[in-house]
């Protein structure tokens, strides 16, 4: 059931912060020479071991629903409840807009003496840091951001590893050698996904090309559908997406072609079309961090970027249409990535204008991957700037 109480409470937040005055300095009498004693409060930038159940809050950018970005985070939240039972008290607030709204919600959690808050969207970065400053004894965890503090950690999934794997499937399943990609905004995170997907495709099918359409919106099912139909019209027979609705999968199902899901298993929107999906699994990370909070040894200033190896990235079960040898190949590639012998962005790596970006034997650095602003060989067109 939905946590109406938390939603209502968040809606009714009134920010009447009791002003914590310093208190007047004690009046010094002329006869008294003794210095006034000053109490020193030790400020430790980490939550102490909680006495009762640990209170953990989650802030979501969209409704939980039953598929998609927020849904995956919520599965992680449920994993915490399952693992720790009544040692934790977990609540969440959904559809919290990035910016001032999120600051209010995070602040509310802090004022109610929560031990830890997971802020699950990029735009919560500055609000999280702002509240964290005021509550040094609380643990803050921010997904996808790049700013940390003494009591703020950041975490991100190596999603490109999953994209590479589903790229292998797409490269094998295409007959027209045109593969379509419906994407939201041309930011490094999305570009990295397109590039990793394309690398997977070209590994098994050097003739295939990827065509990209930007919808310039995180959420517009109608436009995602139009983009998918357009790509199908231009000959694409496998589609992938970086957007938040299943419209692309529906379009593929209607047209009788294949599609690959994103974030969650979207097969129910296209049972015939849906080959597999690249998915995030936040549960291991969330369980680990809450465990630290419970033990009193949680620390801040850490950045986590995990992938297949840690189980933060997964792929969905294969459609029966995917041949057994392709499935075996994908499993092997997955094992190689986990072993560190395979990297989606290992050289030689050319951009789509033919310039060599990574030399033979070298591997792209994390920093370069985080700032991706060009297409790899195999993607059609120019990246909008």
């Amino acid at each position: 059931m939905r946590n109406f109480k938390a939603v209502m409470a968040a809606a009714a937040v009134s920010l009447t912060l009791a002003a914590c005055g310093e208190g007047d300095a004690p009046k010094q009498q002329a006869t008294e020479k003794a210095p006034a004693k000053k109490e020193v409060v030790e400020k430790k930038a980490a939550p102490a071991k909680p006495a009762g159940p640990a209170k953990v809050g989650f802030v979501y950018v969209s409704p939980v629903g039953d598929a998609g970005y927020t849904y995956q985070h919520d599965l992680g939240r449920k994993a915490i409840e399952e693992k720790f039972g009544d040692r934790v008290k977990v609540s969440f607030v959904e559809s919290v807009a990035e910016g001032p709204d999120s600051e209010r919600v995070i602040m509310k959690f802090a004022q109610e003496d929560y031990q830890a808050v997971f802020a699950t969207s990029f735009g919560y970065m500055n609000p999280t840091l702002k509240v964290a400053k005021k509550f040094p004894n609380m643990a803050f965890e921010h997904a996808t951001g790049y700013k940390r503090a003494a009591n703020v950690n950041t975490y991100l999934a190596r999603f490109y590893e999953g994209r590479y794997l589903v790229g292998l499937v797409a490269g094998k399943m295409t007959k027209s050698n045109v593969i379509g990609y419906v994407a939201a905004f041309p930011i490094p995170e999305v570009v990295r996904g397109i590039n990793a997907f394309t690398r997977g495709i070209r590994t098994v099918n050097p003739d295939a090309q990827v065509r990209v359409i930007w919808t310039n919106s995180w959420f517009d099912p109608g436009k995602e559908r139009e983009a998918a139909d357009t790509l199908i019209g231009q000959g694409a027979d496998v589609l992938n997406l970086h957007a938040d609705s299943p419209a692309v999968i529906q379009a593929a199902e209607d047209a009788g072609i294949y599609a690959i899901g994103y974030n969650s298993d979207l097969s129910k929107f296209g049972p015939k079309a849906h080959l597999t999906a690249s998915m995030t699994n936040w549960a291991p990370y969330y369980v680990k961090r809450v465990e630290e909070v419970l033990a009193g040894n949680w620390t801040g200033n850490r950045d986590t970027w995990d992938g297949l190896k840690e189980g933060m990235v997964q792929i969905a079960p294969f459609n029966a249409a995917v041949p057994a040898d392709v499935q075996t190949m994908v499993e092997k590639a997955k094992a190689d990535i986990i072993a560190g012998t395979l990297h989606p962005f290992a050289g030689p790596l050319k951009d789509n204008e033919g310039k060599e970006r990574i030399a033979e034997g070298a591997v792209m650095s994390d920093g370069d991957m985080l700032g991706f602003n060009w297409y790899v060989e195999g993607v059609v067109g120019k990246l909008p700037n």
Binding site: G180, G222, E226, G233
Partner: protein, 311 residues
């Protein structure tokens, strides 16, 4: 580069029709409301409420037709709230319309909570053996879904209603000069009420087209601003139904065109192309606002003005 084959062109044109149809329904609904002298900026909210009501009805009954009926009722019900405010309590129409949109967004999100991620069967295009099979012409004439044809029927009906029917002329009179219409004995408030309800029903229908046919699913805020485009279309069309239809296809066509340009890898800014219809709207506004007489010929003279019978 992939050449434009005929099949691709047909697919594109079918897509344009799908994109334009909800805009046609919403724009025509708003056009009738404005012709009666009422400005309802709640289009987006009414569309969303229609979208969610239609979706819930289809999940419950399995009948798309029933879904559309439910959507019209829901849209009309929400617009009756607006009618109550502006006709009887004389609230500011702009503010009330904006509030209606915000209310509709929240209301639809609330009722749709448990339906997010529920798949339903969409309505596919018509198939008339023999006719739809004719190459190119067949699918273009006989391959759309039923609502596309109904939108054309609606436009034709509105043109006839506004120009040839007695009540249509009375409705226009109410929009042009409510005091004159009142003086010769026409029920101004009742006519406006009816126009608002019709507008609400059509916006509900437009929303249901999106949640039942275009992308058969429910998702919060899924109309994604199309209600505002419909409002712009009414101005673009200078309050003429035929032009609203052309405008909707122009808007839809430009969108599809820019998507095609993108996937071909041509270096044209998508943002610039997306702006074109709005630039055209502004241009029309500038043109029709150049002098008093032109404005009077186009916008209903009493648009947005509350009516109180004097004496």
């Amino acid at each position: 580069m992939i050449g434009f084959e005929l099949e691709t062109l047909v697919a594109i044109l079918l897509g344009v029709a799908r994109g334009a149809t909800p805009l046609v329904f919403a724009a025509i609904g708003e056009l009738i409301t404005e012709k009666a002298g009422v400005l309802n900026l709640g289009v987006e909210g009414m569309m969303l409420v229609g979208a969610v009501a239609g979706f819930i009805a289809v999940v419950a009954t399995g009948s798309t037709g029933f879904g559309f009926v439910a959507a019209m009722l829901a849209g009309a019900a929400l617009s009756s709230l607006f009618a109550l405010l502006v006709l009887f309590l004389h609230t500011n129409q702009v503010a009330s319309g904006l509030a209606l949109t915000i209310f509709g967004i929240g209301l639809s999100a609330f009722f749709g909570l448990d339906y997010v991620g529920t798949p339903i069967k969409g309505l596919s295009g018509l198939y008339i053996p023999g006719l739809t099979d004719i190459p190119v012409i067949g699918p273009l004439l006989f391959g759309h879904d039923i609502m596309v044809y109904l939108s054309f029927v609606l436009v034709a009906g509105c043109i006839w209603f506004l120009n040839k029917s007695r009540w249509g002329l009375i409705l226009r009179a109410v929009g042009e000069s409510h005091h004159a219409a009142h003086a010769i004995g026409y029920p101004v408030i009742a006519i406006r009420f009816a126009a608002i309800l019709f507008g609400g029903a059509m916006c509900g229908l437009a929303g249901a087209y999106i949640s039942l046919i275009y992308t058969p699913m429910w998702a919060e805020n899924m109309t994604a601003g199309r209600g505002w485009i419909a409002l712009a279309l009414v101005v673009f069309a200078t309050w003429k139904p035929g032009r609203a239809l052309i405008g909707a296809y122009l808007f839809g066509g430009v969108t599809i065109l820019q998507l095609n340009v993108q996937s071909m890898g041509l270096d044209v800014s998508a943002h610039l192309m997306n702006m074109l219809p709005y630039l055209a709207t502004i241009l029309v506004l500038v043109l029709i606002s150049r002098d008093e007489t032109k404005i009077r010929l186009n916008a209903p003279a009493c648009l947005g003005k509350p009516f109180q019978a004097n004496g």
